[in-house]
Amino acid sequence: MSFGRRAYVVLWKDVLIECRSKEALNALVFFSLLLLFLFQFALGGDRDHLTAALPGLLWLGFILAGLLALGRSFLIERENDCWEGLLLAPGDKSAIYLGKLAGNLLLMFAVEALVLLLFVVFFNVDVAGVLPALVAVIGLGTVGLAALGTLFAGMTAHVRARELLFPVLVLPLQVPLLLGTVRATEAVLSREGLAAVGHWLALLGAADVIFLVAGFLTFEFILEG
Protein backbone atom coordinates (compact mmCIF):
# COMPACT_ATOMS: atom_id res chain seq x y z
CA MET A 1 0.00 0.00 0.00
CA SER A 2 1.27 3.43 -0.83
CA PHE A 3 1.73 6.18 1.75
CA GLY A 4 -1.36 8.05 0.60
CA ARG A 5 -3.46 4.91 0.53
CA ARG A 6 -2.52 4.04 4.13
CA ALA A 7 -3.35 7.55 5.31
CA TYR A 8 -6.65 7.32 3.47
CA VAL A 9 -7.56 4.03 5.13
CA VAL A 10 -7.10 5.56 8.59
CA LEU A 11 -9.16 8.58 7.55
CA TRP A 12 -11.88 6.41 6.03
CA LYS A 13 -12.10 4.28 9.18
CA ASP A 14 -12.47 7.32 11.43
CA VAL A 15 -15.05 8.96 9.18
CA LEU A 16 -17.04 5.73 8.95
CA ILE A 17 -17.07 5.30 12.73
CA GLU A 18 -18.13 8.90 13.20
CA CYS A 19 -20.86 8.59 10.55
CA ARG A 20 -22.31 5.56 12.29
CA SER A 21 -22.04 6.70 15.90
CA LYS A 22 -22.19 10.51 15.43
CA GLU A 23 -20.74 10.60 18.93
CA ALA A 24 -18.38 13.54 18.52
CA LEU A 25 -20.45 15.59 16.11
CA ASN A 26 -23.65 15.52 18.18
CA ALA A 27 -21.86 16.56 21.35
CA LEU A 28 -19.85 19.23 19.57
CA VAL A 29 -22.91 20.78 17.91
CA PHE A 30 -24.57 21.05 21.29
CA PHE A 31 -21.38 22.36 22.89
CA SER A 32 -21.01 25.08 20.25
CA LEU A 33 -24.56 26.22 20.85
CA LEU A 34 -23.88 26.40 24.58
CA LEU A 35 -20.69 28.37 23.97
CA LEU A 36 -22.69 30.92 22.04
CA PHE A 37 -25.10 31.30 24.94
CA LEU A 38 -22.18 31.71 27.33
CA PHE A 39 -20.55 34.43 25.25
CA GLN A 40 -23.84 36.27 24.96
CA PHE A 41 -24.59 36.06 28.70
CA ALA A 42 -21.05 36.91 29.75
CA LEU A 43 -20.75 39.98 27.55
CA GLY A 44 -24.29 41.33 27.70
CA GLY A 45 -26.36 42.66 24.86
CA ASP A 46 -24.29 45.71 24.04
CA ARG A 47 -23.69 45.58 20.26
CA ASP A 48 -20.53 47.72 20.07
CA HIS A 49 -18.99 45.78 22.88
CA LEU A 50 -19.60 42.52 21.04
CA THR A 51 -18.50 43.71 17.60
CA ALA A 52 -15.03 44.64 18.83
CA ALA A 53 -14.60 41.28 20.52
CA LEU A 54 -16.11 39.13 17.76
CA PRO A 55 -12.92 37.86 16.04
CA GLY A 56 -11.51 36.86 19.43
CA LEU A 57 -14.76 35.21 20.49
CA LEU A 58 -15.01 33.33 17.22
CA TRP A 59 -11.53 31.86 17.69
CA LEU A 60 -12.12 31.15 21.36
CA GLY A 61 -15.13 29.14 20.23
CA PHE A 62 -13.07 27.29 17.62
CA ILE A 63 -10.31 26.53 20.11
CA LEU A 64 -12.60 25.34 22.89
CA ALA A 65 -14.55 23.14 20.50
CA GLY A 66 -11.23 22.03 19.00
CA LEU A 67 -9.86 21.00 22.39
CA LEU A 68 -12.86 18.72 22.86
CA ALA A 69 -12.80 17.38 19.32
CA LEU A 70 -9.05 16.79 19.06
CA GLY A 71 -8.49 15.55 22.59
CA ARG A 72 -10.56 12.45 22.07
CA SER A 73 -9.24 11.50 18.65
CA PHE A 74 -7.02 8.64 19.87
CA LEU A 75 -9.23 7.31 22.65
CA ILE A 76 -11.07 5.06 20.24
CA GLU A 77 -7.78 3.32 19.41
CA ARG A 78 -7.33 2.19 22.99
CA GLU A 79 -10.25 -0.22 22.77
CA ASN A 80 -10.08 -3.70 21.24
CA ASP A 81 -6.27 -3.51 20.89
CA CYS A 82 -6.60 -1.02 18.03
CA TRP A 83 -3.42 0.69 19.18
CA GLU A 84 -1.44 -2.51 18.60
CA GLY A 85 -3.05 -2.73 15.20
CA LEU A 86 -1.78 0.73 14.31
CA LEU A 87 1.67 -0.16 15.62
CA LEU A 88 1.76 -3.35 13.56
CA ALA A 89 0.67 -1.57 10.39
CA PRO A 90 3.61 -1.75 7.98
CA GLY A 91 5.45 1.24 6.60
CA ASP A 92 6.02 4.79 7.71
CA LYS A 93 3.97 5.67 10.80
CA SER A 94 3.53 9.27 9.66
CA ALA A 95 0.83 7.99 7.28
CA ILE A 96 -1.27 7.24 10.37
CA TYR A 97 -0.63 10.76 11.61
CA LEU A 98 -1.73 12.16 8.27
CA GLY A 99 -4.92 10.07 8.30
CA LYS A 100 -5.78 11.04 11.86
CA LEU A 101 -5.02 14.68 11.10
CA ALA A 102 -7.26 14.63 8.03
CA GLY A 103 -10.10 13.13 10.05
CA ASN A 104 -9.65 15.75 12.74
CA LEU A 105 -9.59 18.50 10.13
CA LEU A 106 -12.89 17.31 8.65
CA LEU A 107 -14.47 17.28 12.08
CA MET A 108 -13.06 20.69 13.00
CA PHE A 109 -14.19 22.24 9.71
CA ALA A 110 -17.69 20.89 10.23
CA VAL A 111 -17.85 22.34 13.75
CA GLU A 112 -16.32 25.64 12.64
CA ALA A 113 -18.85 25.98 9.83
CA LEU A 114 -21.59 25.56 12.39
CA VAL A 115 -20.06 28.01 14.88
CA LEU A 116 -19.61 30.54 12.10
CA LEU A 117 -23.22 30.09 11.01
CA LEU A 118 -24.39 30.58 14.59
CA PHE A 119 -22.29 33.75 14.85
CA VAL A 120 -23.82 35.05 11.62
CA VAL A 121 -27.32 34.39 12.91
CA PHE A 122 -27.01 35.37 16.55
CA PHE A 123 -24.37 38.10 16.50
CA ASN A 124 -25.28 39.59 13.12
CA VAL A 125 -21.81 39.03 11.69
CA ASP A 126 -21.81 40.25 8.11
CA VAL A 127 -19.80 37.81 6.00
CA ALA A 128 -21.21 38.82 2.62
CA GLY A 129 -18.42 39.20 0.09
CA VAL A 130 -15.62 38.23 2.46
CA LEU A 131 -16.46 34.56 2.89
CA PRO A 132 -13.58 33.24 0.69
CA ALA A 133 -11.02 35.31 2.63
CA LEU A 134 -12.54 34.23 5.93
CA VAL A 135 -12.45 30.58 4.88
CA ALA A 136 -8.77 30.96 3.93
CA VAL A 137 -7.90 32.41 7.36
CA ILE A 138 -9.90 29.75 9.18
CA GLY A 139 -8.23 27.07 7.08
CA LEU A 140 -4.73 28.35 7.85
CA GLY A 141 -5.42 28.53 11.56
CA THR A 142 -7.21 25.21 11.79
CA VAL A 143 -4.46 23.23 10.05
CA GLY A 144 -1.91 24.39 12.62
CA LEU A 145 -4.25 23.79 15.54
CA ALA A 146 -5.18 20.32 14.32
CA ALA A 147 -1.54 19.43 13.63
CA LEU A 148 -0.62 20.28 17.22
CA GLY A 149 -3.77 18.75 18.64
CA THR A 150 -3.44 15.45 16.80
CA LEU A 151 0.14 15.03 18.00
CA PHE A 152 -0.68 15.83 21.63
CA ALA A 153 -3.87 13.76 21.56
CA GLY A 154 -1.75 10.74 20.67
CA MET A 155 0.61 11.65 23.47
CA THR A 156 -2.01 12.13 26.17
CA ALA A 157 -4.13 9.10 25.20
CA HIS A 158 -2.16 7.00 27.69
CA VAL A 159 -1.90 9.54 30.50
CA ARG A 160 -4.20 9.31 33.48
CA ALA A 161 -4.92 13.04 33.81
CA ARG A 162 -5.55 13.27 30.08
CA GLU A 163 -8.32 15.89 30.14
CA LEU A 164 -6.08 18.14 32.17
CA LEU A 165 -2.83 17.63 30.35
CA PHE A 166 -4.11 17.98 26.78
CA PRO A 167 -5.18 21.65 27.01
CA VAL A 168 -2.11 22.44 29.12
CA LEU A 169 0.08 21.23 26.25
CA VAL A 170 -1.89 22.66 23.33
CA LEU A 171 -2.79 26.11 24.65
CA PRO A 172 0.70 27.59 25.20
CA LEU A 173 1.96 26.30 21.87
CA GLN A 174 -0.95 27.63 19.84
CA VAL A 175 -0.49 31.24 21.00
CA PRO A 176 1.05 32.42 17.70
CA LEU A 177 -1.83 30.81 15.80
CA LEU A 178 -4.40 32.55 17.98
CA LEU A 179 -2.74 35.97 17.65
CA GLY A 180 -2.44 35.59 13.88
CA THR A 181 -5.91 34.26 13.18
CA VAL A 182 -7.67 36.78 15.41
CA ARG A 183 -5.86 39.68 13.76
CA ALA A 184 -6.49 38.30 10.25
CA THR A 185 -10.16 37.62 11.02
CA GLU A 186 -10.49 41.15 12.34
CA ALA A 187 -9.00 42.51 9.11
CA VAL A 188 -11.36 40.39 7.00
CA LEU A 189 -14.50 41.29 8.94
CA SER A 190 -13.68 45.01 9.00
CA ARG A 191 -13.16 44.89 5.20
CA GLU A 192 -9.48 45.84 5.47
CA GLY A 193 -8.61 43.05 3.10
CA LEU A 194 -6.05 40.29 3.43
CA ALA A 195 -3.27 42.41 1.93
CA ALA A 196 -3.11 44.43 5.15
CA VAL A 197 -2.30 41.32 7.16
CA GLY A 198 0.00 39.59 4.67
CA HIS A 199 2.76 39.16 7.27
CA TRP A 200 0.29 37.48 9.64
CA LEU A 201 -0.76 35.05 6.92
CA ALA A 202 2.90 34.28 6.29
CA LEU A 203 3.36 33.60 10.00
CA LEU A 204 0.33 31.32 10.05
CA GLY A 205 1.68 29.47 7.02
CA ALA A 206 5.07 29.10 8.69
CA ALA A 207 3.43 27.83 11.89
CA ASP A 208 1.40 25.28 9.90
CA VAL A 209 4.53 24.02 8.15
CA ILE A 210 6.56 23.82 11.39
CA PHE A 211 3.83 22.00 13.32
CA LEU A 212 3.08 19.63 10.42
CA VAL A 213 6.73 18.74 9.85
CA ALA A 214 7.35 18.30 13.58
CA GLY A 215 4.24 16.10 13.79
CA PHE A 216 5.29 13.96 10.84
CA LEU A 217 8.79 13.44 12.18
CA THR A 218 7.94 12.74 15.81
CA PHE A 219 4.67 10.83 15.54
CA GLU A 220 6.31 7.41 15.38
CA PHE A 221 7.82 8.06 18.82
CA ILE A 222 4.38 8.79 20.19
CA LEU A 223 2.71 5.80 18.58
CA GLU A 224 5.00 3.49 20.54
CA GLY A 225 2.56 4.12 23.36
Binding site: L148, L151, W200, A207, I210, T218, I222
Partner: protein
Amino acid sequence: MRRTTIRVLGWLTVLALLLGLVWGFGVAPREVTQGNVQRIMYLHVPSAIVGEYVGFGVLFLASIAYLLTRSERADRLARASAEVAVVLLAITIVSGSIWGKPTWGTWWTWDARLTTVTILFVMGLAYLLLRGMIEDGERAARFGAVLGILAPLNVPLVHFSVYWWRTLHQPPSLLKPGPSMISGDAIKDALYINLAAFVLLYAYLVATRVRLLRREVEALA
Protein backbone atom coordinates in the same frame (compact mmCIF):
# COMPACT_ATOMS: atom_id res chain seq x y z
CA MET B 1 30.23 14.63 35.49
CA ARG B 2 32.43 13.57 38.40
CA ARG B 3 31.57 14.76 41.85
CA THR B 4 34.79 16.74 42.26
CA THR B 5 34.29 18.46 38.91
CA ILE B 6 30.83 19.53 39.98
CA ARG B 7 32.23 20.80 43.27
CA VAL B 8 34.88 22.87 41.51
CA LEU B 9 32.19 24.22 39.19
CA GLY B 10 30.12 25.15 42.24
CA TRP B 11 32.94 27.11 43.85
CA LEU B 12 33.68 28.85 40.56
CA THR B 13 30.01 29.84 40.40
CA VAL B 14 30.11 31.27 43.92
CA LEU B 15 33.23 33.27 43.06
CA ALA B 16 31.76 34.58 39.83
CA LEU B 17 28.48 35.55 41.51
CA LEU B 18 30.39 37.37 44.28
CA LEU B 19 32.49 39.16 41.68
CA GLY B 20 29.28 40.06 39.87
CA LEU B 21 27.81 41.47 43.07
CA VAL B 22 30.94 43.55 43.76
CA TRP B 23 30.93 44.89 40.21
CA GLY B 24 27.17 45.46 40.13
CA PHE B 25 27.00 47.31 43.43
CA GLY B 26 30.54 48.60 43.93
CA VAL B 27 32.29 49.31 40.68
CA ALA B 28 29.47 50.16 38.29
CA PRO B 29 28.31 53.74 38.79
CA ARG B 30 24.78 54.83 39.59
CA GLU B 31 22.83 55.07 36.39
CA VAL B 32 22.03 58.69 35.52
CA THR B 33 18.33 58.58 34.69
CA GLN B 34 17.08 55.54 36.62
CA GLY B 35 19.30 55.63 39.67
CA ASN B 36 20.02 52.50 41.68
CA VAL B 37 16.96 50.68 40.31
CA GLN B 38 18.87 50.01 37.11
CA ARG B 39 21.11 47.58 39.03
CA ILE B 40 18.32 45.01 38.76
CA MET B 41 19.56 44.65 35.20
CA TYR B 42 22.56 42.63 36.47
CA LEU B 43 20.12 39.96 37.66
CA HIS B 44 17.38 40.39 35.08
CA VAL B 45 19.30 40.31 31.82
CA PRO B 46 21.67 37.40 32.60
CA SER B 47 18.83 35.18 33.85
CA ALA B 48 16.77 36.06 30.77
CA ILE B 49 19.58 35.32 28.32
CA VAL B 50 20.76 32.12 30.00
CA GLY B 51 17.23 30.82 30.65
CA GLU B 52 15.90 31.63 27.20
CA TYR B 53 18.80 30.79 24.91
CA VAL B 54 21.03 28.39 26.82
CA GLY B 55 18.25 26.63 28.74
CA PHE B 56 15.87 26.13 25.82
CA GLY B 57 18.75 25.57 23.38
CA VAL B 58 20.16 22.69 25.43
CA LEU B 59 16.64 21.29 25.91
CA PHE B 60 16.11 21.33 22.14
CA LEU B 61 19.43 19.66 21.27
CA ALA B 62 19.26 17.10 24.07
CA SER B 63 15.69 16.19 23.08
CA ILE B 64 16.75 15.56 19.48
CA ALA B 65 19.72 13.56 20.75
CA TYR B 66 17.40 11.44 22.89
CA LEU B 67 15.03 10.58 20.06
CA LEU B 68 17.97 9.67 17.81
CA THR B 69 20.02 7.64 20.29
CA ARG B 70 17.57 6.79 23.13
CA SER B 71 20.39 7.61 25.50
CA GLU B 72 19.18 8.19 29.03
CA ARG B 73 21.98 10.70 29.55
CA ALA B 74 20.52 12.95 26.85
CA ASP B 75 17.12 12.70 28.50
CA ARG B 76 18.49 13.62 31.92
CA LEU B 77 20.28 16.61 30.39
CA ALA B 78 17.07 17.74 28.66
CA ARG B 79 15.02 17.46 31.80
CA ALA B 80 17.59 19.20 34.01
CA SER B 81 17.98 21.99 31.48
CA ALA B 82 14.22 22.54 31.33
CA GLU B 83 13.98 22.70 35.11
CA VAL B 84 16.78 25.24 35.43
CA ALA B 85 15.42 27.26 32.50
CA VAL B 86 12.01 27.51 34.17
CA VAL B 87 13.63 28.77 37.39
CA LEU B 88 15.70 31.32 35.49
CA LEU B 89 12.70 32.54 33.51
CA ALA B 90 10.75 32.90 36.76
CA ILE B 91 13.60 35.06 38.09
CA THR B 92 13.48 37.06 34.86
CA ILE B 93 9.76 37.72 35.13
CA VAL B 94 9.79 38.59 38.83
CA SER B 95 12.87 40.82 38.62
CA GLY B 96 11.46 42.47 35.49
CA SER B 97 8.25 43.14 37.32
CA ILE B 98 10.11 44.72 40.25
CA TRP B 99 12.13 46.78 37.79
CA GLY B 100 9.04 47.78 35.83
CA LYS B 101 7.17 49.25 38.78
CA PRO B 102 9.50 52.24 39.43
CA THR B 103 10.54 52.78 35.78
CA TRP B 104 7.34 52.14 33.81
CA GLY B 105 4.95 52.77 36.69
CA THR B 106 3.37 49.34 36.48
CA TRP B 107 4.12 45.80 37.64
CA TRP B 108 2.95 44.29 34.43
CA THR B 109 2.38 45.36 30.88
CA TRP B 110 1.69 43.22 27.82
CA ASP B 111 4.87 44.38 26.24
CA ALA B 112 6.27 42.20 23.46
CA ARG B 113 9.39 40.89 25.19
CA LEU B 114 7.64 40.39 28.50
CA THR B 115 4.91 38.38 26.84
CA THR B 116 7.39 36.29 24.88
CA VAL B 117 9.34 35.35 28.00
CA THR B 118 6.12 34.55 29.82
CA ILE B 119 4.92 32.22 27.06
CA LEU B 120 8.32 30.50 27.13
CA PHE B 121 7.95 30.13 30.89
CA VAL B 122 4.49 28.58 30.46
CA MET B 123 5.79 26.18 27.81
CA GLY B 124 8.57 25.17 30.19
CA LEU B 125 6.01 24.55 32.92
CA ALA B 126 3.94 22.46 30.51
CA TYR B 127 7.04 20.36 29.80
CA LEU B 128 7.65 19.77 33.51
CA LEU B 129 3.95 18.97 34.04
CA LEU B 130 4.02 16.43 31.23
CA ARG B 131 7.07 14.75 32.74
CA GLY B 132 5.54 14.75 36.17
CA MET B 133 2.26 13.20 35.07
CA ILE B 134 3.70 10.12 33.37
CA GLU B 135 4.92 7.40 35.72
CA ASP B 136 6.70 5.25 33.14
CA GLY B 137 10.20 6.75 32.83
CA GLU B 138 10.87 5.68 29.27
CA ARG B 139 7.54 7.02 28.03
CA ALA B 140 8.01 10.28 29.94
CA ALA B 141 11.40 10.69 28.30
CA ARG B 142 10.00 10.00 24.81
CA PHE B 143 7.01 12.34 25.11
CA GLY B 144 9.13 14.95 26.88
CA ALA B 145 11.60 14.88 23.99
CA VAL B 146 8.80 15.54 21.46
CA LEU B 147 7.62 18.55 23.45
CA GLY B 148 11.24 19.56 24.08
CA ILE B 149 11.66 19.84 20.31
CA LEU B 150 8.32 21.54 19.60
CA ALA B 151 8.49 24.21 22.30
CA PRO B 152 11.85 25.74 21.25
CA LEU B 153 10.76 25.51 17.58
CA ASN B 154 7.78 27.62 18.56
CA VAL B 155 9.95 30.40 20.02
CA PRO B 156 10.52 32.35 16.76
CA LEU B 157 6.78 32.16 16.00
CA VAL B 158 5.92 33.42 19.47
CA HIS B 159 8.52 36.16 19.18
CA PHE B 160 7.24 37.56 15.86
CA SER B 161 3.55 37.16 16.61
CA VAL B 162 3.78 38.83 20.01
CA TYR B 163 5.93 41.61 18.60
CA TRP B 164 3.47 42.36 15.79
CA TRP B 165 0.53 42.00 18.13
CA ARG B 166 1.87 44.72 20.41
CA THR B 167 3.29 47.08 17.83
CA LEU B 168 0.17 47.02 15.67
CA HIS B 169 -2.07 47.86 18.58
CA GLN B 170 0.10 50.18 20.60
CA PRO B 171 3.54 51.27 19.46
CA PRO B 172 5.94 51.58 22.39
CA SER B 173 6.08 55.28 23.14
CA LEU B 174 6.64 55.62 26.87
CA LEU B 175 7.01 52.01 27.83
CA LYS B 176 10.26 51.27 26.09
CA PRO B 177 11.42 47.87 27.19
CA GLY B 178 14.88 46.54 27.69
CA PRO B 179 18.25 47.86 28.75
CA SER B 180 18.47 50.84 26.41
CA MET B 181 20.51 52.66 29.02
CA ILE B 182 23.75 50.77 28.69
CA SER B 183 26.14 53.68 28.48
CA GLY B 184 29.18 53.38 30.72
CA ASP B 185 31.90 50.78 30.31
CA ALA B 186 31.72 49.78 33.99
CA ILE B 187 28.00 49.05 33.56
CA LYS B 188 28.77 46.86 30.56
CA ASP B 189 31.55 45.06 32.46
CA ALA B 190 29.24 44.39 35.40
CA LEU B 191 26.63 42.98 33.00
CA TYR B 192 29.14 40.69 31.28
CA ILE B 193 30.57 39.44 34.58
CA ASN B 194 27.09 38.62 35.83
CA LEU B 195 26.25 36.96 32.52
CA ALA B 196 29.30 34.72 32.87
CA ALA B 197 28.35 33.99 36.49
CA PHE B 198 24.86 32.93 35.40
CA VAL B 199 26.24 30.66 32.70
CA LEU B 200 28.34 29.00 35.42
CA LEU B 201 25.33 28.85 37.73
CA TYR B 202 23.28 27.21 34.98
CA ALA B 203 26.03 24.67 34.30
CA TYR B 204 26.40 23.88 37.99
CA LEU B 205 22.67 23.44 38.60
CA VAL B 206 22.23 21.29 35.50
CA ALA B 207 25.26 19.14 36.37
CA THR B 208 24.00 18.65 39.92
CA ARG B 209 20.48 17.83 38.73
CA VAL B 210 21.73 15.39 36.09
CA ARG B 211 23.81 13.63 38.74
CA LEU B 212 20.82 13.49 41.08
CA LEU B 213 18.57 12.05 38.35
CA ARG B 214 21.20 9.40 37.61
CA ARG B 215 21.51 8.49 41.28
CA GLU B 216 17.72 8.19 41.53
CA VAL B 217 17.71 5.63 38.74
CA GLU B 218 20.63 3.76 40.30
CA ALA B 219 18.96 3.72 43.70
CA LEU B 220 15.74 2.28 42.27
CA ALA B 221 17.51 -0.28 40.09
